[in-house]
Symmetry: C2
Subunit: 504 residues, 2 copies
């Protein structure tokens, strides 16, 4: 290898190691903030986080990095450096371009705006008054429209935003996929609505927190989550965070009058954590030590939550254990009744409370609105009306006020456009992976019934987790399923599951 | 103020803010490592800590910093910049000089040596074989002797090492103070040895961990430790750590067959924590947001542990509460018996297990050895013999083997010479402060009896804590007690307490 190329590869590794040390510190500081840091220290913590993030930003936009990338991202570089280095350089170049194309002054003004907008959103939401938030959102949308022009895009301007969360995803694909999905889901929603509803009263009995925690730990263990490379803590808004594959932390929330929050929440975050724990050691310290995309990450949490955790076979194994931790709550509840209750589906107003069957419809509402907003087909003032119409049309629910409607999510207040679709893509990918897995592991249910999750986890780790960000989402999907984004497996799964559960 | 001076002051503040953001991250990462970080992540954590520490080192030895310090540390600077800036600049200059005077290559070789030496020490200690450790210690001592020459000193070369932990302290002072102390302590040791020993069997009954934790929290609260600016966690080797005054964490250890470990350990670390929590907000983000010295820091932990926590009056208030958390362990134990038991004194082999009365003698043994070693009066090979002689002479104990003798402490393996004296100085200062406090608060015992620690804590905060590192240890002592380091108050305290406890 040419000397300058060799040297550039070595230096890039050092730069990435430095960035990942900062990221580890930032990750831990955030985890700590959300799991018990003393409340008086929040301001100083934010300042320190700001300082460290600025350092990472400086490195990622430095001339030194740019020079290294220019040497590596050449025909000769592609032939001679390792795949990990080359792919890392590609990602760093993408970030570099994004970060340097937007004029610094404008980006700073935008950041100040989003900080204010988040408080304004909170206020507006609690007052259920969209007009309080409208001027902020108008400014944010104006910036976003301008920024995509700086960054550049092919086809629809919204593609540039999708790319932040789901590299390679486009409006063309999503239009097709989401239309198909919506048309497939609506009859299911109707069917469930008309059907006899399951009994659910027993779900809401008192289940002591410590016992929920003990059961949650047991479930994580059975999922092959490695407690020597992680820990479980309590928080207000649960998340999983990977500082690196040997330190991946899960957090959960205990609601003593609804054990489902902790149990299904822990399984969900556990799915994210399995991804992070099983990224190949060879990627550690590079920017490839990350998930392939937000949608692929979500496919792992949702696969474990819905295809494992909400399956009948899983509870054949775990129901007696759950009973042993509960205070008699399930004594007169059959496994069948339990299974029906934890799989209750019904159209509702709030996305984060939605069930497996209706969730994607909440996302489609948001996708259609975001896309039209960025292209300029609609304006911010049109949002509440459009929102309410679409909720009525797709889910059949009446929105009583904006607080539980268009103002329910925080995302827009910090400019996260293009983020929502990934949630629905997570459902779609999970179902696609499940059908591929069924080919290789036909006795899936039997394994769950025996509490043997290892082969399932190994299959996911081998096909997905280990590759980190080396493979792009489309590539992973193609390699595993032989096709692109396809909503049919999800529709087949939901249709068969809910027609059987609700007898329609 | 001249423009360049003004600008230098502003820039120095920015540099210090950046350093303190890194320090906050480093502090949290260390705290996490010792309170529950997943064990598989230790290597990656060490690497990240290395990266961040290197950054701090780079800043503290940068030409940019040097230029700022040269502008500020002038006659004009002294007149015009704030006292905080000037004192900070002095400290930074001291660090800069130390860090730049030792040739980088030698310092790196020394660091590699100490890493190896620590493992060698551990091995040697468990084999009780000094010869295994001897070659490492010889090399370390050779480096230390060379480094003090690079750094420079006045009088005895050991002064340069004392200065790392106790700015301004000298061999001349310590020789006098420690001789006086040793001569005053030896008759007390003898007296206690001959006297009737207290009953202590009841101390070692089973005391459940959760209940110890609850009592420990209550005691911290009564000390005015602010839980909104801190937290209490479990660890193996207890410590307190201040990330900044609004985030000061205490750790403790629960021994279910000896509650004293947690209770007195928590009070001790709580004393350190009160210091850190009460440093003035105006110092935050500067290098002045720190204790004045290790000895002054230790004076605070020891004041709370011994003068508060081991006093009769304290237990008049807390004994019933302790009983309510214990499982009947103290049912037939009078307050008087309890008080005698937790104040048991007897000569022993191990420093970290030593009681209030004999502790300083362990330090004096180490001081005399270190001093002679650095000056070249003795060599490493002489250590075991000298150690055993001095232990016999000062404490009257026979050392059965080096594992519980000269090899017991980790300090020398990482080159921490000059550190030990600060522990004894902590005892001495604590007693000096106590006599000064008695002048201002003559009803000390009455306050403890009523559980009113606030005025005591306020007195310490006003005189010591709030100043951070602005005042040097000698200055603090002079301002509060009107004198320099004086062992007489400690001797008066120990003599009166132990003559009365042991009736001699």
């Amino acid at each position: 290898m040419a000397d300058n190329l060799k040297q550039a590869e070595t230096e890039l590794t050092l730069v990435m190691n430095q960035m990942s040390a900062y990221q580890q510190a930032i990750g831990l500081m955030n985890w700590d903030l959300r799991t018990g840091a003393p409340k008086k220290g929040v301001n100083q913590r934010s300042e320190a986080l700001g300082t460290l993030s600025t350092e990472v930003y400086k490195i990622s936009t430095s001339t030194h990095l740019k020079e290294l990338l220019d040497i590596i991202l050449t025909e000769e570089g592609k032939r001679q450096v390792s795949e990990i280095t080359y792919r890392s350089a590609e990602e760093l170049k993408k970030e570099y371009d994004k970060n340097t194309k937007i004029p610094e002054e404008e980006f700073k003004a935008y950041q100040i705006l989003t900080t204010k907008a988040e408080s304004a959103w909170e206020e507006a939401k609690s007052n259920a008054d969209f007009q309080e938030f409208q001027p902020y959102l108008e400014e944010i949308v104006a910036y976003k429209r301008k920024f995509v022009e700086y960054i550049g895009y092919e086809g629809h301007p919204y593609n540039a935003m999708l790319d932040d969360f789901e590299p390679g995803m486009t409006v063309d694909t999503l239009d097709q996929v989401f239309t198909e999905l919506r048309e497939g889901l609506m009859p299911l929603v109707e069917g469930v609505k008309q059907a006899k509803q399951p009994k659910t009263g027993f779900l809401f009995k008192h289940f002591p927190k410590e016992q929920q925690a003990a059961f949650s730990r047991e479930v994580l263990q059975s999922m092959q989550y490695d407690f020597e490379a992680g820990r479980l803590d309590e928080t207000v808004h649960p998340f999983a965070i990977g500082l690196h594959p040997n330190d991946v932390r899960v957090t959960t929330k205990y609601d003593e009058s609804d054990f489902r929050t902790a149990v299904f929440g822990t399984i969900h975050e556990g799915g994210h954590a399995l991804y992070e724990q099983n990224i190949s050691e060879s990627l550690v310290g590079t920017v490839m030590s990350d998930g392939a995309s937000m949608g692929i990450h979500e496919s792992q949490s949702l696969f474990f939550e819905n295809f494992v955790g909400r399956s009948y076979a899983f509870w054949e194994h775990h129901y007696d254990r759950l009973k042993s931790f509960a205070d008699g709550q399930f004594d007169n509840v059959s496994l069948d009744e339990f299974y029906r209750a934890v799989n209750e589906a019904k159209p509702s107003l709030i996305r984060i409370e939605a069930d497996e069957m209706t969730y994607a419809l909440h996302i489609i509402v948001r996708y259609e609105i975001e896309k039209a907003l960025i292209s300029g087909e609609i304006e911010v003032k049109d949002l509440p009306g459009l929102w309410n119409e679409k909720m009525q049309e797709y889910l059949g629910v009446e929105v009583p006020h904006d607080g539980v409607g268009v103002l329910q999510d925080v995302h827009w207040s910090f400019g996260a456009f293009g983020y929502f679709p990934s949630y629905a893509l997570g459902y779609i990918y999970a179902a696609q992976f499940k059908e591929a897995l069924d080919q290789d592991i036909p006795n899936f249910d039997e394994l769950l019934r025996d509490g043997r999750i290892t082969p399932i986890k190994e299959w996911m780790s081998g096909g997905i987790h280990q590759h980190g960000a080396l493979k792009k989402p489309g590539e992973l999907l193609q390699d595993i399923t032989g096709e692109g984004t396809n909503p049919q497996p999800l529709l087949r799964h939901l249709s068969s599951k809910y027609r059987s559960l609700y007898n329609f």
